[in-house]
């Protein structure tokens, strides 16, 4: 299974990332997820902080776990950090497999665990100041579903 994990300030190219997962011709199915900064009210900037090294280590562990649960040919995870604007893309998880159900399941599994395990924190800038985003318990419930 080829694995690409990148934490970066820059945006990413979906065409190139999906092409990277399929150039070997093994996988017929690629399930992808992109998370975007929503446009809401007075939100002007979303700033992402992370824990360097642990982020990559934790995502590597999550991808390895996905690889033991489903037959995957490749996984790409790109998470942006720094200052983002409404409409910007935050995260990409793309999973290639010979089986589309495996690709969908692994992609959703990785998103659920990214949301609950990868050490990123979002801070919103609004007209009344800066606020750290609160963790959502619905994300814990989503990850809980996958417990064996």
């Amino acid at each position: 299974m080829q694995t690409r994990i990148r934490i970066q300030r820059e945006d990413f190219d979906l065409n190139a990332e999906v092409a990277n997962l399929t150039t070997d011709g093994e996988a017929g199915a690629v399930a992808s997820f992109t998370g975007h900064v929503r446009k809401e009210g007075d939100l002007s900037t979303l700033t992402l902080e992370h824990y360097p090294h642990m982020t990559e280590a934790e995502i590597t562990r999550l991808v390895a776990e996905a690889g033991t649960r489903w037959p995957l040919t490749g996984v790409t995870v790109i998470h942006r950090v720094g200052s983002l604007k409404p409409g910007d893309r935050i995260v990409l998880v793309a999973v290639a497999s010979q089986h589309r159900h495996a690709a969908f399941q692994a992609c959703e599994f990785l998103m659920d665990f990214l949301k609950t395990h990868a050490p990123f924190w979002k801070e919103e800038a609004r007209t009344d100041g800066h606020h750290w985003v609160e963790h959502r318990h619905s994300d814990d419930d989503a990850a809980e579903r996958w417990k064996k």
């Binding site: 998370g35 992402l48 902080e49 992370h50 824990y51 090294h53 642990m54 280590a57 934790e58 998470h79 935050i90 995260v91 998103m111 990214l114 949301k115 609950t116 395990h117 990868a118 050490p119 990123f120 924190w121 979002k122 801070e123 750290w132 985003v133 609160e134 963790h135 959502r136 994300d139």
Partner: protein, 81 residues
Amino acid sequence: MNLLYFAWVRQKIGKSEEQMTLPVGDVASLIAHLKNLGPNYADAFADLTRIRVAVNQHHAGPDAPVAPHDEVAFFPPVTGG
């Protein structure tokens, strides 16, 4: 021991990283020690239901042991993705 703080834990304590020589123990005893270092630490660790810990870059619970050369990080529940 190398201590790291992130997000509002970092802001409340007023620094992102510090070195300390501390008695060997577990995560819970380490937090109890830190809470006594000043009002900024007491504020950061006031509600432990809102604090998460990683030891050597692995998520860890209150019973996890900590040793002199460990890297221990304190942060709020994560909000990435």
